[in-house]
């Protein structure tokens, strides 16, 4: 297959999917959405392709955030001895990993994490997991109940950012090539792929139009973003949200773009221990509290503002787009009703 032939799309027959993934698994860890015995669909590592059914029809309850930025990871171990106070890396080299079936929202979230962890000073722990990863996306033919990615311009179909992108055309997948790793993967296993016909790309276009018409929530993110930028969101909106927020941080943990973290030491004995990094949430009361007690973000209302301003104002100013990707997971998890869809609706109203 010549390089210039890579601009076009390819077809992978669904019958060949497992064979393709089996080949992929030879050189990579494979992570894909699987429905477990409790009927939960979660991205997980697939050890035996024949024993677990990959689920490409549900939305995974998690994204792939935790694979690149684990809920808890060891940054270093430390020991105090006659040699002094020494820190050592825990040398667990991450396996090269293929993420398969990643929805546009979750894929955009990884691109955002790339900016956070590698845009300035490069975070070594993220970088090592990210550099050997391949993102194979799956466009969303039918948005799920709480989805609003069209409002945040992060789906339901993506044209860039992926290594490979799959579109389900019924009995076959249309496969588009994005970044170089996708090209390499397709070249390595080209026996499974045939060039797509014009009718395949037409079918994909038709599906993308139908997907755009399939959203069930009306979410006007641009309106909220504009009103935030103009300072037009009234104090009463923040007040109401801060009263309802139960401070559980469920939204932050489930969010594919929330990347706040804390670092703590966990002693393993009197003279040694681990330094751990764990997910944190900017809405927690102690997030900004200094030793001695002074807290510049002393009120819940400010903590709530921090969360939504970060996603819908600061990141718009800094990166040109909001860092909400419209996956809708916080809508499902928030029992206080202070999710971002609620906020966008309240902020957008005159």
């Amino acid at each position: 297959m010549r390089d210039d032939a890579m601009d076009q799309a390819f077809i992978l027959a669904k019958d060949h999917l497992k064979s393709f993934l089996r080949k992929v698994k030879k050189g990579h860890r494979l992570v894909a959405p699987v429905t477990n015995q409790h009927n939960d669909t979660l991205f997980c590592t697939i050890n035996h392709l024949d024993r677990v059914p990959i689920n490409l029809t549900e939305q995974a309850q998690n994204g792939i955030k935790s694979f690149l930025f684990p809920q808890q990871e060891t940054l270093a171990t430390y020991a105090v001895s006659a040699d002094g106070y020494r820190f050592n890396r825990t040398d667990v080299r991450p396996e090269p990993t293929v993420y398969f079936g990643v929805r546009p929202c979750d894929l955009m979230a990884v691109l955002y994490m790339d900016v956070v962890f590698m845009g300035g000073v490069k975070d070594q722990h993220y970088l090592e997991k990210r550099q050997d990863s391949v993102l194979i996306g799956l466009n969303c033919n039918a948005p799920f109940a709480n989805c609003f990615c069209s409002a945040t311009k992060s789906g339901p179909f993506l044209e860039t950012g992926f290594d490979l992108m799959f579109t389900d055309l019924g009995d076959r997948f249309l496969v588009e090539v994005g970044r170089p790793k996708g090209r390499e993967m397709l070249q390595a296993w080209q026996q499974f792929f045939t060039p797509a016909e014009a009718e395949d790309t037409r079918a994909q276009y038709q599906l993308s139009l139908e997907a755009m018409a399939g959203f069930r929530l009306d979410v006007y993110a641009d309106q909220a973003i504009q009103r935030l930028a103009a300072g037009l969101v009234p104090e009463s909106v923040w007040e109401q949200l801060s009263l309802r927020c139960q401070d559980c941080a469920g939204c932050a943990y489930i969010c594919p773009t929330c990347t706040c973290f804390t670092i703590v030491d966990r002693p393993a004995g009197p003279d040694c221990g681990e330094r751990l990094r764990s997910w944190d949430a900017c809405t927690f009361a102690g997030f900004t509290r200094l030793a001695g007690g002074h807290n510049p973000v002393a009120h819940k209302i400010h903590a709530i503002q921090t969360r939504f301003l970060h996603k819908l104002k600061y990141d718009v100013d800094k990166h040109g787009r909001p860092s909400c990707v419209g996956c809708g997971r916080c809508v499902g998890i928030c029992f206080g009703g202070t999710d971002i869809v609620r906020f966008i609706k309240m902020a957008g109203e005159d």
Partner: protein
Amino acid sequence: MSLMRSEDYLPRPAVIQKIIAENSQIKTFVLALADQQANQAFTYRPGQFMMVSLPHRGEAPISFSSTPTRPGTIELSVRRAGSLTAAMHALQAGDQVGLRGPYGRPFVMEDLQGRDLLVVAGGIGLAPLRSVINGCLDTPGHGKLTILYGSRVPSDIAFRGDIDIWQHHPAVTCHLTVDAPEPGWDGPVGLVTGLLGQVKVDPASSTALVCGPPVMIAAVLTALGKMGFADEEILTTMERHMKCGIGVCRHCHLDSKLVCVDGPVFSRAQLKKLQMDRL
């Protein structure tokens, strides 16, 4: 400047060479990296900070109180405030701490070259400004320095060794004030803002440097504005809770900025664009 750097979060061991008790709450730790070569190669700029580690206590950001014009060791002045700093205060010369850094946007010493400086500090807030003051005094061609330093009570006055040198330096005017007097104190009593009216500075040729408790910073910034200082020539440095030091963990958020990478040094002009009620 930091675009190509990477961070592995591994502190380097440093040996305490000497400990100076500044008052009952503040100790200055004179430190050198345990690796001699690394210690010789180590550079930093006034206004920057280090992440300091203690076994089982985690890390905290501490700004340099020493000046890079006096290489070989660094000095970190630490007020006892929480469990890490309390543990640090229990250390002895010869003990080790872990150090990561330096981090943060510094005071740009080149911009201060030749300008008169008005330094307004409260409590431990003198620590990062001491780095600038001594750096200026070590550099030929510096302007006049006016130092106003407020403490709670006379026995809280820190950096007495430096203050004694400054008070006898021909280019320096140094005034002290306390919130409440103690027996033997015959100096001014009152807030440091009260001293501002008594000093002769030309706002056009001066840069003001301010650090102290948040309420004091806010009051001094306003007062300096009224004196005629341009917002760009009023600089302050801010204290925040931090975990990473590299602009990722977000604990030090200040409106749209992160104090660890966008600061800790800010001009009043930069702060005015933000929500100033969150100092």
